[in-house]
């Protein structure tokens, strides 16, 4: 019987019970605590926080457990919770230049003020699968850790070798948009675009960024700098009259430096692509900065020839909650529209067969006429 779709409440309840059972595994193994996920699967937790647009490692860990490790499901859970929270206001921009970095590397200069710092990274690990994980002691740092680390882009800015990050004068910090509270209309401002990219799907951005490297909208990138660290978030409280620190968040920032040969109006100089993501998310921050730079083609009068340079293509498809929902909705019943198509296909086939029958009988008639004529002539 066709009960899969016309199943009703009982089927749904049973399916949920089964899902919970599958997620539990064997009853004699202990349940994973969310603290363990939060502490031992930090990179995964970061991804859920970034794409869920909510900085809360505890909730992200809980969402991952509830989703049985399905990242997009966890992101959806977090977003559906986040959207019910009130928005109190806007924080001043976080000062990532001043953040005490856990990790900071630059690919453009060998030695930079503040130094290169490898930090906690998978880079240079040998990817050899091991049976048991072990933790070794971390030796104390042999250089002072709080040496200031000016931005690499700022060093290039001294000689105007790189575009300025804001106009020289007459600039005030604009209020950021909020994609989650205001309607999206294309074209977007760069701020809105960056917001969309920051919550966009890591895999999608990675592939788009990669496509620019392979010639689909190349922008000759160099990693000016990648840094990971905790930054203080402040909030302007009207009752107090000044900004108050409300907490610290871990972020990954990437500034990509891109070649630009100049145009009729603009002198040759380096340009920027920017990426900022919650938590430890280097791959995402780098991909984001590649795509950000590609999307700035209008500013530099570049021809749009590739998917990564197309704002509507990139932004409209980067949100994985939307993407997965719409792709997966195809498994919902569509039998009404399918029925409409069935009726149409049958009608079109009938018409096709009728036409063919007419053509065949016409061909048959003409052959007969030809034969008759031949016989008469004979």
């Amino acid at each position: 019987m066709y009960v899969a779709v016309k199943g009703g409440e009982k089927a749904i309840a049973n399916a949920h019970a089964l899902l919970a059972k599958r997620g539990r595994g064997t009853a004699d193994s202990p349940r994973i605590g969310y603290e363990q996920v939060r502490d031992q699967m930090g990179v995964l937790v970061s991804r859920v926080m970034a794409e869920g647009s909510l900085y809360d490692p505890d909730l992200a860990a809980k969402a991952l457990l509830q989703a049985q490790g399905d990242v997009l499901e966890a992101v959806t859970l977090l977003r559906s919770y986040r959207t019910t929270l009130p928005r109190f206001g806007i924080t001043p921009a976080v000062d990532t230049a001043g953040l005490p970095s856990e990790r900071r590397v630059s690919a453009t200069f060998k030695d930079i003020p503040g130094g290169q710092q490898l930090g906690a990274t998978f880079d240079y690990t040998h990817r050899l699968l091991v049976d048991e994980l072990e933790t070794t002691d971390v030796p104390p740092p042999d250089v002072p850790v709080d040496e200031p680390m000016p931005r690499v882009a700022a060093l290039l800015g001294v000689d105007a070798l790189i575009e300025s990050d804001r106009p020289a004068e007459g600039w005030t910090d604009p209020d950021p948009g909020d994609l989650t509270r205001e309607p999206t209309v294309f074209p977007m401002t760069r701020a809105e675009r960056l917001q969309a990219l920051s919550r966009g799907d890591e895999g999608f951005l990675l592939s788009l960024g990669y496509s620019t490297q392979r010639g689909f909208g190349n922008n000759h990138p160099f990693v000016g700098e990648v840094r990971v660290g905790e930054v203080e978030v402040e909030f302007e409280v009207p009752e107090i009259g000044h900004a108050m620190p409300i907490g610290r968040i871990e972020v990954t920032e990437c500034e990509m430096v891109n070649q630009f040969v100049g145009s009729a109006d603009v002198a040759p100089q380096f340009t920027r692509g920017y990426g900022l993501v919650f938590g430890r998310a280097e791959r995402k921050a780098m991909s984001m900065s590649l795509v950000d730079r590609a999307l700035r083609r209008d500013e530099f009068g570049e021809r749009s020839v590739s998917p990564a340079q197309d704002e509507e293509f990139v932004i409209a498809h980067s949100d994985n909650v939307q993407a997965t929902g719409f792709v997966e909705h195809l498994k919902l019943p569509h039998y009404v529209d399918f029925q409409a198509e069935l009726v149409l296909i049958r009608k079109l086939r009938r018409e096709f067969q009728e036409r063919q029958a007419t053509r065949e009988s016409a061909a048959h008639d003409s052959t007969r006429e030809d034969t008759n004529r031949l016989e008469e002539n004979a």
Binding site: R82, P183, F326
Partner: protein, 293 residues
């Protein structure tokens, strides 16, 4: 560190969001058929599964309302059951399967067979609100086309169908012209249902959550399915009655009954089918009584 307590607002959407949606709805009603951008929120179901409809319903539903939810015309399809259960849980709304008792009907892919009346609201779940989307993928471009009332693309498409097949080969999501101004996507309802939209006494609201658009048809508005003078719009028809209730002129589901392609045809509108079948049995029993008397 204590675990944070997860709390949801009564009715799920916060009041501010409801106001945002209501403002978009009012604008939509004021400009029939125009797609109003709104800041669509996440709701606790996947995008593409009726999140737009859910937000619209959540914003118009009140304690006195009775909600009916259908998917493919049926009240008992899993997604309809799931959405109805959601509103029972978060809004405490009374629900029904009877079209004539509902004040709000949320639907996917059908308009009920029972004619709607004044003070009823029909909420459509819309996947792709832009009728020109498959002809022009860019939002910046389609918005301009609507603004200029430039619908040549659509007419060319319909003309091409006629040139190729001898008739318009579009059977669902058949484009309509609303109030003589905006071309609008009726959502993937079959073209069979299109005539029901014209001069309907009920308010028709459309929510596209993923695409972040809302639009509306106020009661008693002209809704014309596109066509040409010599090739006018023709809704799909079925040349047989429902095998369960015997109704004619209704939309039918083809239900496969064996593994040799055998099929039966029955109403897609389950509520209409049940009530018609019931009336027929009652009628028959009165007839029998009269005969025996």
């Amino acid at each position: 560190m204590s675990a944070p307590r997860i709390v949801y607002n009564e009715g799920y959407l916060d009041e501010q969001t409801k106001r945002v949606v209501r403002r978009a709805l009012l604008k939509g009603v004021a400009i029939p058929g125009f797609q109003v951008p709104f800041a669509s929120r996440e709701v606790p179901m996947p995008r593409g599964w009726g999140t737009g409809g859910v937000q619209v319903t959540a914003s118009v539903i009140g304690p006195e309302d009775t909600l009916k939810v259908i998917d493919q015309g049926a009240d008992d399809t899993t997604n309809a059951v799931s959405i109805r259960a959601f509103f029972e849980k978060v809004a405490g709304a009374a629900s029904t399967t009877r079209t004539d008792q509902a004040t709000i009907i949320q639907t996917r892919h059908r308009i009920p067979e029972t004619p709607l009346v004044e003070n009823q609201i029909l909420v459509y779940q819309v996947p792709i609100p832009e009728p020109l989307r498959m002809l022009e993928p860019r939002e910046t471009e389609t918005r301009r086309l609507h603004a200029l009332e430039e619908y040549g693309l659509m007419y060319v498409k319909l003309y091409e169908d006629i040139a190729k097949y001898g008739h318009i080969a579009r059977t669902y999501d058949y484009p309509v012209l609303v109030n003589g101004r905006y071309v609008m996507a009726p959502s993937p309802t079959p073209s069979f249902d299109n005539p029901k939209m014209h001069q309907s006494p009920a308010l028709q609201l459309f929510g596209a959550g993923r695409e972040k658009r809302i639009y509306a048809i106020p009661p008693y508005t002209d809704v014309e399915s596109l066509g040409f003078e010599d090739y006018p719009f023709e809704p799909q028809r079925f040349d047989r009655p429902c095998e369960i209730c015997g109704s004619t002129g209704v939309y039918l589901d083809e239900i496969i009954i064996d593994d040799r392609g055998g099929a039966m045809f029955a109403c897609s509108d389950t509520d209409y089918c049940e009530r018609t079948a019931q009336q027929r049995t009652e009628q028959q029993s009165t007839d029998t009584k009269e005969v025996t008397a």
